[in-house]
């Protein structure tokens, strides 16, 4: 299911991160980096609420828009009942749609916002997403201080929040089209190998995007996937070539880009809903505005993992939503 948007632009973005992200190679591209994972709050969950709050406030300050004039907020996160987003929204009077698509929340938000704007239902929208390393670790894996050894294929949930202001007002980044993915059973049950879980969903949605738009993969200067990590990236490249005969040449994964994989203890790379938008809004948009890339295809990928279902010995489903972004000169 691909939507083509005539007139929707990303006017401004904001990126807030924790300490690990600022120490990574892209640290200088983020708006605000915190040193402490608590962000002055009492617990991890409230720290994530604060992240969302800060991302939206930073975006409002940057874009100089009055928050009361924003028609709709769309966002979600990884926590149960998407609490980080819901609790952050208490402070805002705007209408809000909470979404859950695991780590593909960012692109789903962009597609939904762009659809409502292009359809003429609203004038503008803010889409946001967040993830917090320790709150996710606590909910999905082990207590933070537990040091049991991890597999090399484990990914490291990024700490951060990213928000984007969408509207019909012309600006340099255009949301050209978006493809909504479907849930795919990866047939992988290994909770420490999310890259393998998600690569198949990324392949499926990228291929259906190309089919719907009638484009060749070379149409894009850069294809980005969300958070497959080192091994997921290799799996996707090989699977695309073997299954669809598509050679991903100008391809990278935001999970591989966010951290210094050699020197930071992040195993296979970054993950989390914040990973794809942090890298895209922070670094990739900067490069697009400088003229390095003209058209990019962003495929954020989500592993729809639930510890209870994993205990039931079920394999993990995954989903990917794709947006095509263009620089307008």
């Amino acid at each position: 299911m691909t939507f083509k948007f005539n007139d929707v632009y990303i006017n401004d973005t904001s990126t807030i991160t924790g300490p690990y992200e600022s120490e990574g190679p892209l640290g200088k591209y983020f708006d605000l980096c915190h040193k402490d994972l608590y962000f002055g709050e009492k617990n991890w969950e409230q720290a994530e609420v604060k992240l969302v709050d800060e991302a939206i406030n930073t975006l409002v300050n940057k874009s100089k828009i009055n928050i009361d004039n924003v028609d709709l907020l769309i966002g979600g996160d990884l926590l149960n009942q998407i609490v980080a987003s819901n609790y952050a929204m208490e402070k805002f009077k705007n209408s809000f749609i909470g979404i859950y698509a695991a780590c593909s929340t960012s692109t789903l938000g962009l597609i939904l916002g762009a659809s409502l704007i292009d359809g003429g239902f609203i004038n503008n929208a803010i889409t946001f997403t967040s993830s917090h390393n320790t709150s996710a670790e606590k909910q999905y894996r082990y207590p933070v201080e537990y040091g049991g050894p991890k597999h090399k294929s484990t990914t490291f949930t990024s700490t951060g929040s990213a928000a984007a202001l969408l509207s019909k007002n012309r600006s340099s980044i255009k949301i050209e089209s978006g493809t909504i993915g479907r849930v795919i059973d990866s047939k992988v049950g290994d909770v420490s190998n999310m890259g393998a879980v998600m690569a198949i969903a990324a392949a499926d949605t990228i291929v259906s995007h190309l089919k719907d738009t009638g484009r060749n993969i070379d149409y894009y200067d850069l294809v980005l996937t969300g958070d497959l990590g080192i091994y997921g990236k290799k799996i996707l490249k090989e699977y695309m070539l073997s299954e669809y005969n598509i050679d991903l040449k100008n391809y990278n994964d935001t999970g591989v880009m966010l951290y210094d994989l050699e020197n930071q203890p992040v195993y296979a790379g970054a993950s989390g809903p914040a990973c794809a938008p942090l890298v895209t809004y922070g670094y990739v948009f900067d490069q697009m505005k400088k003229g390095k890339y003209k058209r990019i295809l962003l495929a954020a990928t989500g592993a729809l993992m639930c510890p209870t279902m994993a205990n039931h010995k079920l394999t993990i489903p995954s989903i990917s939503h794709v947006v095509s972004l263009e620089v307008i000169s």
Partner: protein, 145 residues
């Protein structure tokens, strides 16, 4: 040639260095054993107590320091490095319990610590009790014959 997705996944799944991990666990676990033995010998000679009581003192000491180091925030790195060398001895049990207690402290004494402290280590207690019952039963039956 078309490859099955599972085959591609298998091909690109990193191999864990089992031999290296075993060697590290063997050495660090052995060192842990030496520390324990030294503590038993020390306690029995300093306080002039039987070995059985000195063993209990040794266990309490190891549990105390595992919990303290976990709370100070660096024991997880030791466990991560030593792996089963620190997980299998009582240090691993203490570490798992303490890390869960720290994690859930903020959710209250009863609903937080009380309900979640044994989240990771509860299985060790349950199956420890069950297996000791089964083995005692076997011992009793064998003794009767």
């Amino acid at each position: 040639m078309k490859q099955n997705y599972q085959e591609i996944v298998k091909k690109h799944s990193p191999k864990e260095n089992v031999l290296m991990n075993a060697v590290i666990a063997f050495i660090t676990g052995g060192l842990m054993g030496i520390v324990g033995q030294l503590l038993i010998d020390g306690y029995s000679s300093w306080f002039d107590i039987p070995t059985k009581e000195a063993t209990v003192c040794m266990l309490v000491t190891l549990i105390f320091f595992s919990c303290l180091f976990t709370s100070l925030g660096f024991f997880d790195k030791w466990v991560n490095f030593c792996k089963c060398g620190l997980i299998i001895p009582i240090t691993g049990f203490a570490h798992a319990t303490m890390s869960a207690a720290l994690e859930y402290r903020k959710e209250g004494l009863v609903t937080g610590i009380g309900a979640n402290m044994l989240k990771l280590s509860g299985a060790v207690i349950i199956f420890g009790v069950v297996s000791s019952f089964v083995f005692s039963l076997i011992r009793m039956v064998v003794g009767l014959i």
